[in-house]
């Protein structure tokens, strides 16, 4: 009987799989359905995996998209050889990883990078070597303030501002305590922007910093509480943010504060991880579209991951960003002269010429340009953690900060707004 049930279950699962595949066949690149057989085009990617977090979601998604492209005609018949290195949250390893991919392997571009460290170490290398890095899970200021790095995600500064703006406008926040990592170009940079924003709106703010190597979440929480804040912003990787929420739950602090967070908490596993206690009490800024928003590209992202990724690959904003970076890169490459696909300078020029690409995963157009700074994504959505998922509480909105004035001026010059 058990065997029969098992067999029936397996058949049902198989049918469901084929039905699902039929309804959600991924659409990638030329979408020919034929595997690419030409000489591979080498593309690199660097991610961080080490304490205090795994930042490989974006390179996982980019790898899945490239695998999908390779199974669907590649780029003018040529497959993408996507080489990925782990920087281990270590500057020496980050430098070696870039040396390997950029100089030894002669990658024509870097795509999907996600790190807290590699962009700071390698930003100048990318300039010196004339290579563009289309990052996707960029967490430090160099991602947005150097010439050869452009990121599909917004980074902590923009996402923090989005969360703080919503809290100030909709939730009555007047004093925000920002808990972040004690890294000058990450936590301090992003939290200071929130303090400046709140001050500009007649409120106030403070920051409580964690040592990334040995994070004491309880101390940071108590420091935030002692600041007199009415709102606590968790500017942390998801794992650490969950640890702070756990500590707050133990002290029953939920109803004493408004809890907001930038995009790292926008992960499908978070609603279950935080539990009933927090449902309806945490507001999260989503740098890209809500995960089940139903748009064609949003559905394609999930289909690509289902078909070409691993089951354990996260379905989060950084995964969306990795998918998008890979998609935009492939689109730019397919618009190039096929004879120049191995010419790094030509590829870099093609990436810098990207203008007006769009996706239902993004609130605005994607562009690169030739400025020494890049921030194409500066509008997002706001969601609330509820049982079983997230509820959108505010659709696409532009962030109200002078930080983006120069980017908006560039967009105006490019005819994008």
């Amino acid at each position: 009987m058990k065997l029969k049930n098992g067999l029936a279950g397996a058949i049902a699962l198989g049918l469901a799989f084929f039905a699902g595949a039929a309804f959600a066949a991924p659409n990638c690149g030329a979408n020919t359905g034929q595997a690419a057989t030409g000489a591979p085009i080498v593309v690199g990617g660097i991610y961080s995996n080490g304490a205090p977090g795994d930042w490989s979601s974006s390179t996982d998604a980019a790898a899945a998209y490239f695998a999908c492209v390779n199974a669907n005609g590649g780029i003018n018949g040529r497959p993408v050889e996507y080489l990925v290195e782990d920087d281990q949250w270590n500057p020496e390893a980050a430098s070696a990883a870039a040396a390997k991919l950029v100089t030894d392997k002669k990658a024509v571009a870097m795509v999907g990078n996600g790190s807290f460290i590699e962009m700071a170490v390698n930003a100048q290398t990318y300039v010196d070597q004339g290579i563009m890095a289309m990052a996707s899970a960029c967490a430090i200021s160099e991602c947005f303030e150097t010439p050869n790095l452009v990121s599909t995600n917004q980074g902590p500064l923009a996402s923090n501002l989005g969360a703080a703006q919503y809290a100030q406008e909709e939730l009555g926040s007047k004093n925000v305590a920002c808990i972040g990592l004690n890294i000058p170009n990450n936590g301090i940079w992003a939290c200071q922007a929130v303090i400046d924003y709140m001050t500009s709106k007649g409120g106030t703010g403070s920051m409580a910093m964690l040592n990334p190597g040995a994070p004491d979440v309880n101390s940071a929480l108590l420091e935030a509480v002692a600041s007199g804040a009415d709102t606590i912003l968790l500017n942390l990787p998801a794992g650490l943010a969950l640890a702070v929420l756990k500590a707050a739950q133990e002290q029953d602090l939920r109803d004493s504060y408004t809890w907001i967070a930038p995009t790292p908490l926008y992960d499908l596993s978070v609603p279950d991880a935080v539990g009933d206690y927090w449902h309806g009490k945490i507001w999260v800024n989503a740098e890209l579209a809500p995960i089940n928003q139903g748009g064609a590209d949003g559905q394609n992202w999930l289909a690509v991951l289902d078909a070409f990724g691993k089951a354990e690959d996260p379905r989060d904003t950084f995964s969306q960003a990795g998918y998008l970076s890979a998609q935009f890169f492939v689109k730019a490459m397919m618009e190039m002269d096929p004879a120049q696909l191995d010419d790094r300078a030509a590829v870099t020029a093609a990436i810098k010429a990207i203008k007006g690409y769009s996706s239902d995963l993004m609130c605005g157009p994607y562009y690169v340009g030739d400025e020494p700074y890049h921030q194409p994504n500066h509008a997002g959505q706001m969601v609330k953690v509820v049982a079983g998922g997230f509820e959108v509480v505010r659709g696409c909105y532009e962030y109200d900060s002078a930080y983006f004035d120069r980017h908006k001026a560039v967009e105006k010059a490019l005819g994008l707004n």
């Binding site: 949250w89 270590n90 170009n185 190597g213």
Partner: protein
């Protein structure tokens, strides 16, 4: 001048030939990935030489070496952003500043030996780790700490070493000078004093050796070597991260110095290869680099059980045996 100072031993000649060959051939044959790895390895070989010399010559266990490298790196970065001085000047000043820190560390530690000395130096490493994590490394900001919010300002590499190949050669030269400086000290009066102190502090005092002075001097030398290594690391990357200077790294560095063989220059080289090249190799093979820790543990057990002079001691013994047999054949 003491004529023995310039005497070249077979081991010393082998070391100089090894350094010269590395200087000439490594940058020629290595790809960029391995250039980065070997540059890092050469920097840590120099740092290891400091901790190994203290252990081999005085029997003192210092578990602060990587923390002292952090001080050297911090001073280099701070000076780089403060004044427009050449890298070499900043490196020398960083070495001197770290030497002074080594002396300060030595003063309370001098009353202790063995395990207690190791614990005191470990606590110092822990304190430095907290300082680095709290205040971070200078990145072009104002004030004493020199930290600004946002991106790092550009770092000036040595004028002689603007490319990765040239920088590896530069590091090899500085590391060789570091080894020679330690060897020079060993051959001069401090070396004789250290030998006496290692045998018996009481006997050394009875012979008129100022034990406090020479122990402090040893700490200072190890500090200066660590400071210069930290400066080279800062020059290699253009920035530093507190995660590099955790106290656990100092413990690892000392353990590998023992595995490699603290008495020999080759021991420091082997330790640095294990510390930086082995993880790079594992990464190239697609194996988790944490496997290196298992190998380090096995290496330490091997050293403790069968090789008190480390792998380098075994290699030199093997060479001596082979030469002895060869000599007998010729006889």
């Amino acid at each position: 001048m003491d004529r023995s100072l310039l005497r070249i031993t077979p081991s010393g000649a082998a070391g100089l030939i090894f350094a010269a060959a590395s200087f000439v051939f490594l940058p020629m044959v290595l790809g960029s990935y391995w250039l980065a790895i070997f540059t890092s390895a050469a920097i840590f070989a120099m740092a290891i030489s400091g901790v190994a010399f203290m252990y081999a010559r005085l029997g003192m266990v210092s578990l602060t070496q990587v923390g002292l490298m952090g001080i050297g790196g911090w001073v280099t970065l701070r000076l780089n952003y403060l004044w427009d001085m050449p890298f070499e000047v900043n490196m020398v000043l960083a070495a001197l500043a770290t030497m002074i820190c080594g002396w300060i560390l030595a003063l309370p530690a001098l009353r202790m030996r063995g395990l207690y000395l190791a614990l005191v130096t470990l606590m110092a490493a822990g304190g430095l780790e907290i300082l680095f994590a709290t205040y971070q490394f200078p990145n072009g900001g104002e004030g004493f700490w020199g930290v600004k919010i946002g991106s790092n300002a550009p770092f000036r590499r040595p004028a002689l070493a603007q490319t990765p190949e040239a920088y590896l050669r530069y590091v090899i030269v500085v590391a060789t000078l570091g080894f020679l400086f330690i060897e020079g000290q060993r051959r001069l009066f401090p070396g004789r004093a250290w030998a006496l102190i290692r045998r018996s502090e009481a006997a050394a005092m009875a012979a008129g050796v100022n034990v406090t002075l020479y122990k402090t001097w040893a700490f200072g030398i190890a500090g200066a070597i660590a400071g210069a290594s930290g400066a080279l690391l800062a020059g290699s990357l253009g920035l530093l991260d507190d995660g590099t200077f955790r106290s656990s790294e100092s413990i690892m560095l000392f353990a590998l110095a023992v595995v490699g063989g603290a008495r020999f220059w080759l021991g420091a080289v082997i330790a640095a290869v294990l510390f930086r090249v082995l993880p790079g190799l594992l990464n190239t093979w697609g194996v988790d680099t944490d496997l290196a820790f298992v190998i380090f543990g096995a290496g330490l057990l091997h050293a403790l059980i069968t090789a008190p002079n480390g792998i380098a001691g075994q290699i030199f013994d093997l060479v001596a045996n082979l030469r002895g047999k060869k000599g007998k054949t010729h006889d």
